[in-house]
Each structure stands twice: as structure tokens, then as C-alpha cells.
């Protein structure tokens, strides 16, 4: 009886493990195919063999000199970095204040921030293009930084606010009695304790801005000023698309964010749903 129970338990685990590993392969496969295509020599791109006859790892070097992705990568780094910094600068004071002080209009403010999460760039594309055209701010890194920061505020404010709320206000009050200002207490006491929240916010904003596509598509016209996602997409439009270079660039775009994402995975769900789960 006991042995039978153990056997049942073991076979259950085996079934789960087989299923889960199968699924893992399924989710990885498209990205593996990207790597395989990235190393295909140009003359084997129209072959339908599963693997190329020659693995041309040099594509990862040539892609920098033969396409604009070097410039696109710089734009993406600048935009994602700038947007992350701006988001943090704007969201941190707001998150801190709403976490610590019950002021009039606090709820309305939090609601406003939450609702911005629902208004996505794709739905506002026509208005965004019109606005930044009339402001004379098309084709500018700064425009992408500002726009990306705005659409990331909701996540940032909510996750930072949740982390700061979980740190007892008494700790700050003690520091303030010792002569530290409120801003000093924020930087010396609260922020170090809220660090996991801050790191999550920074990495998540960076990834979202790095992956952003539609705003780069509608607000930037000059190919060398486009972010990496738009640069990769525009390679399809070429007379003879160089799929190997396209996916070499894609692999370069994906690997860093996957590593970053894995480091904050545990905190992301709470940030995405913090404003809404009862």
C-alpha cells in the first residue's frame, strides 16, 4: 500500500516534470531558431534545412558594420536609460508622499496614475504624433525618453509606494528627531530598506523602454535615430531582407533584458497588479 502510494507520487512527479520540460522547450524554441538563423551564411538563408551547413558566427560581428544597429543600440541605451532615470526622479517623491501622508486628493491621484496604465501608446499614437509634431519634437531622443517615462509611471509609483508603505514610519521619525530632514530620512533610512522595490522599478522600466516599439515607430523618422526594435523591424522592408543580420541584432537585443528580467522576476507580478488586487 505504502509502496503503491510512493509509486503513484513518483509517477505524478514524472508526468509533471515531462510536461514542464516540454513546455520549456516550446517557449525557448522560437528564440533558438533566431540564434540558428543569426549564424546562417547569406547563401543558405533560403534553405529549409533545420540547421545551416556552415555556422557563420562572424555574422554577430558583421551586423555592426553592415547595418545601422550600432546606432540603433546607442539610441535604445540612451532612451531606456534616460526614461528609467526620469521615471525614478518623478515617481519616487510621489510614491513616498502617498505612502507616508494621508492628504486630500491622495486617492484620486493614485487612481489617475493607475488609469494611465490602461491608456497605451498604441491607442494614443495619433495624438502623440500630432502633439510632438506641433511641439517640433519629432525625431528626438528626448521625446522618446519623456514619452517612455510617462507610460511607466503607473508601475513605478505603485511598486515604490507599496515597498515604502511596508517600512515603518517610526524609523524615519526617529531619524528626524535626531535632526535629519524628511528628505534626509528618505535617503538615509527608507530608500536603503526599499532597495528591492527601487531595483525592480529601475530594471522593469528599463526593459519596457528597451522593448518599446510603437512610439519609436511614429515619433522617429531618421533610420539612425530609431531605437533597436524599430531598426530591426525596418530591415524587413528591404528589397532582400537579411534575416541573419536581423536575428543577430534581435539576439543582441534580447539577451541582456532576459538576464535583467530574471533578476527581478519575483517582484514583477506584485508591481503589475499592486494597484488592483483586492
Amino acid at each position: 500500500m505504502l509502496i503503491q502510494g510512493r509509486f503513484k507520487e513518483l509517477s505524478r512527479k514524472t508526468v509533471f516534470a515531462v510536461l514542464a520540460w516540454g513546455l520549456a522547450a516550446f517557449f525557448l524554441a522560437p528564440y533558438l531558431e533566431m540564434v540558428i538563423t543569426a549564424v546562417r551564411p547569406a547563401n543558405e538563408l533560403r534553405d529549409n534545412g533545420y540547421l545551416p551547413k556552415h555556422f557563420q558566427w562572424g555574422n554577430f560581428v558583421d551586423v555592426w558594420s553592415q547595418t545601422t544597429i550600432g546606432q540603433n543600440l546607442q539610441v535604445s541605451l540612451l532612451v531606456a536609460g534616460g526614461a528609467t532615470l526620469l521615471t525614478l526622479l518623478v515617481a519616487l517623491p510621489a510614491a513616498y508622499y502617498t505612502a507616508r501622508i494621508r492628504f486630500r486628493g491622495r486617492k484620486i491621484f493614485l487612481l489617475l496614475v493607475l488609469v494611465t496604465q490602461m491608456f497605451q501608446p498604441a491607442a494614443l499614437q495619433v495624438g502623440l504624433a500630432r502633439e510632438f509634431t506641433s511641439l517640433g519634437m519629432m525625431d528626438s531622443d528626448l521625446t522618446l525618453i519623456i514619452a517612455n517615462a510617462a507610460f511607466n509611471l503607473a508601475f513605478a509609483v505603485w511598486i515604490l509606494s507599496a515597498y515604502i508603505s511596508s517600512i515603518p514610519a517610526e524609523l524615519e521619525e526617529a531619524a528626524m528627531i535626531d535632526g535629519t530632514s524628511r528628505v534626509g530620512a528618505l535617503f538615509k533610512v527608507t530608500l536603503p530598506l526599499a532597495l528591492p522595490g527601487v531595483v525592480t522599478c529601475v530594471i522593469f522600466t528599463f526593459i519596457t523602454a528597451w522593448n518599446e516599439f510603437i512610439m519609436g515607430l511614429i515619433l522617429i523618422n531618421t533610420p539612425s535615430k530609431q531605437p533597436l526594435t524599430v531598426g530591426i523591424d525596418s530591415m524587413i522592408g528591404a528589397y532582400n531582407p537579411q534575416w541573419n543580420f536581423m536575428f543577430a541584432a534581435s539576439v543582441v537585443a534580447i539577451i541582456p533584458v532576459v538576464i535583467l528580467f530574471a533578476s527581478i522576476e519575483r517582484h514583477v507580478v506584485s508591481g503589475l497588479t499592486a494597484g488592483s488586487v483586492k
Binding site: 531558431e33 526622479l89 496614475v113 498604441a122 495624438g127 522593448n211 526594435t229 497588479t273 488592483s276 483586492k278
Partner: protein
């Protein structure tokens, strides 16, 4: 010179800070007197600039006469809306948008329930298999979609080759060449990229269910299906509803999946409303703006739905 004076200045300000020790509370009050604006003002300004202003621009553009160069020639009435509503493509686009949203969200929710249940079990390699799910989540949706477009290529696509080898098809197909072939794949890719977030959200919900509840159900002799439908699902309701509405909004507004695979084409046959407004924008910015206002009305309905299922409903 300025460097010389800077040092003593710093020293005095440090002294002043020390002297100010007992009045720390006063400093706090002065901050409170300024009110919330210095803290939340920048946040509001950014939202007004990037989220609210475009909405106003959309309404304005749809009712004004705008030249090809973007010059505004004043109020133009509702002509653009008339043009949009008499556009033969609108019906197809809105029907496909509805089918797209319902099917992608439906499949995503059901499959994610299963995946969350699986990843909540104990088995060898659970941690690593969960990591695989991170890649489609972290990777840019446009890049993933372009990847699928390539894998479905008529000549060199690995999926065509695979389906041929498995005997599922008899000749290579041009999967992204027409709407009937492309639509199931568009739905497939959209589900593929929506699964990780949804699964992780439901998994987080599952992990809040205390073990004693299952223990009690087991003692009472409930079968595993009974336990799932009577206990797990009801307790999962809050996470489920939030994931559902976030998915509704994301999928309804989704742009990169369709853009990356078919660019909304051929013609506008696979365009949902957000892709259609982009295509319209190439020729008639007014009609495109009218489309975006109509689309925005749907978004507002979804936001109200979201507020209803989220905790704001209870608190206010």
C-alpha cells in the same frame, strides 16, 4: 576663488544643520505647508503632457481640417467620422478586433490556469522550467513576432518544414500571405506572448491559498476536481479578474504582433483598430484620428470595467 570660499561655506551649513536639530519637526511642518504638489506635481505634469494632451489632440484632429503637411485650417465638423463610418473596411476591422480580443484573451486565461497549476506542483526542475517562461515575457513582442513571421516563411520557414515532415500539410503554405491563413497564427503568437504574465499572476494568486484549506478539503474527502472547482478557483478569483482585464486592455491595444507578422495586410485584412489607425494615418490623418477616438471610447469602457473588478470598487 570660488573653490576657496566653498569650503568654509560647507562647514557653516553643516553647523547650521546641527544647530537646527531641535527644529526638525518645524522642517517637516514647512514641507506639509507646501502641500503635496512638490511631491506629486512632476508626476501629474508628465501624465498631462504625454497621456492627456494626446487625447485632446485626437479629438481636435478628428474635427479639424488638417493639411497633408500637418497645418490646422480650423473646425471641419464631423466629416471625418462620416468618412470613417462609411469606410467599407471599418466593419471588417472592428469585427476582427472583437474576435481577436475575445479569442486571444480566452485562450490565454484558460491555458494559463493550467500552466499555473502545473508550476505550482513539486517536481524536479520546477525552477528552471519556470525560467523558460521569462524569455517570451522579457523579449520585445515585435522581435518575437518577427521571429514567428520568419519561421512561417513559405520557402525557408522552419515551421513549414516541420509541418511538412510531420505530414500535417502537403505543400509549403504562405501563412502570412492572406487573412484566412494568417489569423490563426496571429492569435497563436499573441497567446504565446501573453501566457507568461498571466501564468505568473495566477501562480502568485495560487501561492496565497493557505495549505490548510487543501488539507481540510482532503480530510472531508473531496476529489481533486472538486477541490479545484470549489476551492482553488473561487480563491483565485481576484488574481484571475485582474489578469483578465489587464489582458483585455493589452490585447485590444496590441500593435506589434500584427505589425511584425503581416503589417495588418494584405490590404487591411488582418488589421485590428490600432493597426488600422496607423495605416489610415499614412493617407488621411483626420480619419485616422476619428478612428482613434472611436477606439478610445472602447478603452474607456475597459477602464471602467477594470475599476469595477479592482479594489477601487470597494474602497470608494
Amino acid at each position: 576663488m570660488s573653490q576657496k570660499t566653498a569650503a568654509p561655506d560647507a562647514a557653516t551649513s553643516a553647523k547650521a544643520a546641527k544647530a537646527a536639530k531641535p527644529t526638525a519637526a518645524g522642517g517637516r511642518n514647512s514641507l506639509a505647508r507646501l502641500g503635496p504638489l512638490p511631491w506629486i506635481g512632476p508626476c501629474i505634469a508628465l501624465i498631462l503632457l504625454v497621456v492627456v494632451w494626446p487625447v485632446a489632440e485626437m479629438v481636435l484632429t478628428s474635427t479639424h481640417k488638417i493639411s497633408g503637411l500637418g497645418i490646422d485650417f480650423g473646425f471641419n465638423g464631423l466629416g471625418r467620422y462620416q468618412k470613417l463610418f462609411s469606410d467599407a473596411r471599418l466593419g471588417t476591422v472592428m469585427t476582427w478586433t472583437l474576435i481577436w480580443t475575445v479569442l486571444v484573451v480566452g485562450f490565454t486565461m484558460v491555458i494559463s490556469l493550467g500552466l499555473a497549476q502545473l508550476y505550482n506542483q513539486q517536481f524536479p526542475g520546477r525552477k528552471y522550467t519556470r525560467w523558460a517562461l521569462i524569455i517570451p515575457w522579457a523579449a520585445s513582442v515585435i522581435v518575437t513576432s518577427i521571429g514567428f513571421r520568419w519561421m512561417l516563411d513559405e520557402v525557408a520557414g522552419v515551421l513549414n518544414r516541420m509541418m511538412l515532415d510531420l505530414g500535417l500539410i502537403h505543400g509549403a503554405e504562405n501563412w502570412t500571405g492572406d487573412a484566412a491563413h494568417a489569423k490563426p497564427w496571429l492569435i497563436f503568437v499573441a497567446v504565446f506572448v501573453s501566457l507568461p504574465f498571466t501564468t505568473y499572476t495566477l501562480l502568485a494568486g495560487l501561492q496565497t491559498v493557505p495549505g490548510e484549506v487543501y488539507e481540510a478539503a482532503r480530510v472531508d474527502g473531496a476529489s481533486s476536481w472538486q477541490t479545484y472547482f470549489r476551492i482553488t478557483l473561487p480563491l483565485l478569483r481576484p488574481s484571475f479578474l485582474v489578469a483578465l482585464v489587464i489582458n483585455l486592455i493589452n490585447v485590444f491595444n496590441s500593435f506589434p504582433v500584427i505589425w511584425g507578422m503581416t503589417q495588418g495586410g494584405p490590404n487591411t485584412d488582418t488589421s485590428t483598430s490600432t493597426v488600422f489607425m496607423f495605416i489610415l494615418g499614412q493617407t488621411d490623418v483626420g480619419e485616422s484620428a476619428a478612428m482613434s477616438v472611436v477606439n478610445f471610447a472602447v478603452v474607456i469602457v475597459m477602464v471602467l470595467l477594470f475599476l469595477k473588478v479592482s479594489r477601487w470598487n470597494e474602497e470608494s
